[in-house]
């Protein structure tokens, strides 16, 4: 085949592919169009009606339709780590999770699965966090809540990782079309703050305790190279300011009724740090995440939208 023929046919093939697959076409251009001029956008707001709040915030981010396309498989990863009731703020608020799942369903998601890998007994965490009942109360067979099956972890190479070169991740999260992390904003003894990037630890296997040793912050950043959330939510409705991440006293909880969301995990975490009177730079994994190019840490370069 002559070079000219080859190039022609290649071009034709691409053109056909773009023509046939409208979404690919759209994606191809929209990403180029969006990426260049826009600052990463973080939407946040307060409202006692969490359902309303979530709707408004997602609207400010361009609607859930921007993240979830019809028929896609969505994994929603709230924090269900602890056997604590919602008011203690140790887990993601069940109403936040519920509305999030509903928004995905309204955007036409084929299947929305809620899952986490708890620290306490999983059944007790799912139940007492209120998230099991919240997801079931939606009453859709497309909305599921599942316990992790230890057989479904797969080893993932992390070529961009600095101190972790590979680690097992949950297959369903890797294979999901859309991954949404919904993290409660909490004080944390060793990570200082537990925010959306820290929450990726709920989708990894192996002996997670080991991750605490030899640089937890770098490990968190490295894990984020293996799995990036398409949408990161910070749930500061019940912000835990002390005794975290497990808490256990209402004295440690500030009821802010605030939620923040962004497609940029570094940006939303950096913003959430300010709720605690800190800066994104103060938290190791947020800083590493910025340095490794996951997103924007500088609040001056973030388009913060208050709804």
């Amino acid at each position: 085949m002559r070079r000219r023929t080859f190039l022609k046919r290649m071009l034709a093939t691409f053109a056909m592919a773009l023509g046939l697959d409208g979404s690919l076409f759209q994606k191809f251009f929209s990403e180029f169009a969006l990426a260049a001029p826009d600052l990463p956008r973080v939407a946040t707001g307060t409202n006692q009606d969490y359902s309303r709040l979530l709707t408004d915030i997602m609207h400010a981010l361009g609607g859930m339709e921007r993240f979830v396309k019809p028929g896609q498989r969505v994994v929603v990863k709230p924090n269900i780590s602890w056997d604590r009731r919602p008011e203690f703020g140790a887990n993601t608020n069940p109403l936040v999770v519920k509305r999030l799942v509903e928004l995905c369903l309204e955007a036409g998601a084929g299947e929305v699965t809620v899952m986490d890998r708890p620290c306490n007994d999983p059944r007790r965490c799912y139940r007492d966090s209120g998230i099991l009942d919240a997801v079931r109360s939606i009453g859709s067979d497309r909305a599921k809540i599942k316990h992790l099956n230890p057989r479904r972890f797969v080893e993932v190479k992390l070529p961009r990782g600095v101190s972790l070169k590979q680690w097992p991740f949950y297959r369903d999260a890797l294979e999901a079309d859309v991954l949404i992390v919904a993290a409660p904003a909490k004080q944390h003894g060793s990570a200082r703050l537990s925010l959306s990037m820290k929450n990726i630890m709920g989708l990894v296997g192996g002996r997670r305790e080991r991750l605490h040793v030899g640089g937890l912050h770098q490990h968190i950043a490295d894990l984020n190279t293996g799995l990036r959330a398409d949408l990161s939510i910070i749930d500061a409705t019940h912000m835990m300011v002390a005794n975290g991440p497990s808490g256990g006293s209402l004295d440690d909880v500030r009821v802010l009724n605030r939620v923040a969301a962004s497609a940029d995990p570094v940006a939303v975490d950096s913003y959430a740090a300010t709720l605690f009177g800190l800066q994104g730079e103060d938290i190791g994994y947020i800083r590493y995440g910025y340095q490794m190019g996951f997103g924007q840490i500088d609040l001056n370069k973030i388009n913060l939208v208050e709804v």
Binding site: D83, D121, R127, H147, R151, R152, R207, R210, H212, G247
Partner: protein, 536 residues
């Protein structure tokens, strides 16, 4: 006339025989079903007639009374069983006892394979069970309660909980491993669906393991294999519950006719699983007959029937002999100090579950049934072997490296059929101190290696946390002096749940932080401090 009524007897016998088998199967299945219900069922509450079989057991009633010297109505169903025994004899053994049902099933299967019926041992063997009962009661009265170790229901439950179920669940998991491995892409999702349904109700929530798994399992298999020596070996010779029923059967009204072996046949002698016919006189020992109805069904002459008789029967005493009884009682009493050797150490070794009674009372009332260990959500409750002396054999102790005590969970207290572990409210349980955590600076990562870790602090469930951080300068593995956060246990806040030890990333059996049991002095100090706290 005799032809017809005789056939009628056999027919009726056959109906009773099948009814009995049906009752046995139902009873065994129900026992297993209830066994599986000893688990976290989506709420911190055990529901249903969980303790039913224990409550039917008059020997456990006796154990509870002797252990606590208190009357209890909890075992009222056992009274009904006893009253029925007075009327019917040892019906429990062939109609209700789930272990008896298992013996019959396994014995039939094993011996059918070998193509022969086992013989019968000398009748004097069967005195063992009476002596055992006597010795157990005497020992229990003097503070060494081993009744639960020999009680058939406690034995069965314990063997299921500590050996059979973990093994079966393990096999089930490996089967799923195999199936998942065959073609994860093709079958993964449908297998996942099946698996998630079985997980919990049938398969254990987590891979279970117990310290005495092999020991308990082999012992149980050994007991089952006694069927090869003779049918119902356990029931005839060893079972103390059977002996108790035997004692009450002396007033028995339901009797076999003819009362003796027939001179022209005598087949019943070889047919009877309980070997209840005396060799010399051919008379049936009504203490041994368990109403299995086999002789009525098999009688070729259609003579055998069971009838209620108003008159007092001539039931022979269990022919133990007064001297043997005295000897047994005395030797039991004399051996007591020997059996108690090392018991004091139990307290220093064991981390008893929250709600456990004071040690000596706990040891008296614990049935060693294993219900608390079965229900424990983390598999942290483990049986003791001899660490606490013979006294503490099979009693539960928390092994945090294996599983911690879940902060909001009170299931073991609810699962305990006797109240050896009290059923606490969640709030009470969270205040109950079962041990104290201490860091081991030679293993704890921040202390020993100068690296940050703090997994223990993260998981500590008390509020405020019993583990706090103290920044200190340490040399790290690269020889640099850095500031690390050291975990420090605030003893006043620690309840000894052991999640810190469980989650500690230090490799090997010995974690960098460990829960020590409460030894009595510490406990007293603690109670004093708590008392002072309350006054203030």
């Amino acid at each position: 006339m005799s032809e017809q009524s005789g056939n009628g007897l056999r027919q009726r016998g056959l109906a009773w025989l099948w009814l009995r088998r049906f009752s046995q199967v139902i009873s065994l299945c129900f026992f297993l079903y209830l066994f599986l219900r000893y688990r976290y069922q989506d709420q911190n509450l055990l529901q249903g007639p969980l303790h039913l079989f224990f409550r039917l057991d008059p020997l456990l009633w006796l154990s509870e009374i002797v252990a606590s010297w208190r009357w209890t109505w909890f075992f009222l169903p056992a009274l009904a069983v006893l009253l029925l025994t007075v009327l019917l004899g040892r019906f429990f053994c062939a109609w209700i006892c789930p272990l008896g049902a298992l013996f019959d099933g396994i014995g039939t299967a094993l011996n059918a394979r070998r193509g022969r019926q086992p013989g019968n041992l000398s009748p004097s063997y069967r005195l063992i069970k009476y002596l055992l009962l006597l010795v157990l009661i005497v020992l229990a009265i003097f503070g060494f309660n081993w009744i639960g170790i020999f009680d058939p229901l406690a034995l069965f439950f314990r063997s299921l909980a500590l050996a059979i179920y973990p093994a079966a669940s393990y096999s089930g998991e490996r089967l799923f491993d195999l199936l998942f491995g065959l073609s994860p892409e093709k079958w993964g999702d449908s297998l996942d669906a099946i698996y998630s349904v079985l997980k919990g109700p049938l398969l254990a929530e987590r891979a279970l393991s117990y310290h005495l798994l092999v020991f308990t399992g082999l012992l149980f298999i050994g007991v089952l294999l006694l069927e090869l020596v003779e049918r119902r070996f356990w029931c005839k010779n060893l079972c103390p519950l059977g002996a108790l029923f035997g004692l009450f059967a002396r007033w028995r009204r339901l009797r076999r006719l003819p009362a003796k072996l027939c001179g022209d046949c005598g087949e019943c002698k070889f047919l009877c699983k309980m070997d209840s016919f005396a060799t010399e006189s051919g008379r049936q020992n009504l203490r041994e007959c368990i109403l299995c109805m086999s002789c009525q069904v098999s009688c070729r002459e259609n003579r055998v029937q069971y009838r209620f008789k108003a008159s007092q029967p001539a039931v022979p005493h269990p022919d133990i002999g007064r001297r043997r009884i005295v000897l047994a009682v005395v030797s039991a009493a004399v051996s007591l100090p020997l059996l108690k050797v090392g018991s004091k150490r139990a307290q220093a070794q064991a981390i008893r579950p929250a709600g456990a009674l004071p040690e000596s009372e706990f040891l008296q009332r614990c049935l060693r049934c294993g219900a608390c260990m079965k229900v424990c959500v983390t598999n942290g409750l483990q049986p003791l072997l001899l660490q606490g002396g013979l006294d503490a054999l099979w009693t539960p102790s928390l092994v945090p490296r294996q599983g911690y005590c879940e902060f909001h969970c009170t299931l073991c207290g609810q699962a305990c059929p006797t109240g050896a572990i009290r059923a606490l409210s969640v709030a009470e349980k969270q205040r109950t101190v079962i041990g104290k955590a201490v860091t081991d600076p030679s293993r704890c990562i921040p202390y020993a290696r100068g690296q940050n870790c703090l997994v223990c602090e993260e998981h500590c469930p008390t509020s405020p946390k019993a583990i706090v951080l103290r920044p200190q300068k340490k040399m790290n593995p690269h020889g640099k002096v850095v500031t690390v956060k050291l975990p420090v246990v605030i003893l006043d806040r620690c309840i000894g749940c052991g999640i810190c030890e469980n989650k500690c990333p230090v490799e090997g059996l010995q974690a960098g932080i460990r829960v020590r049991p409460l030894v009595s002095m510490e406990q007293r100090l603690l109670e004093k401090a708590q008392g002072a706290g309350r006054k203030a």
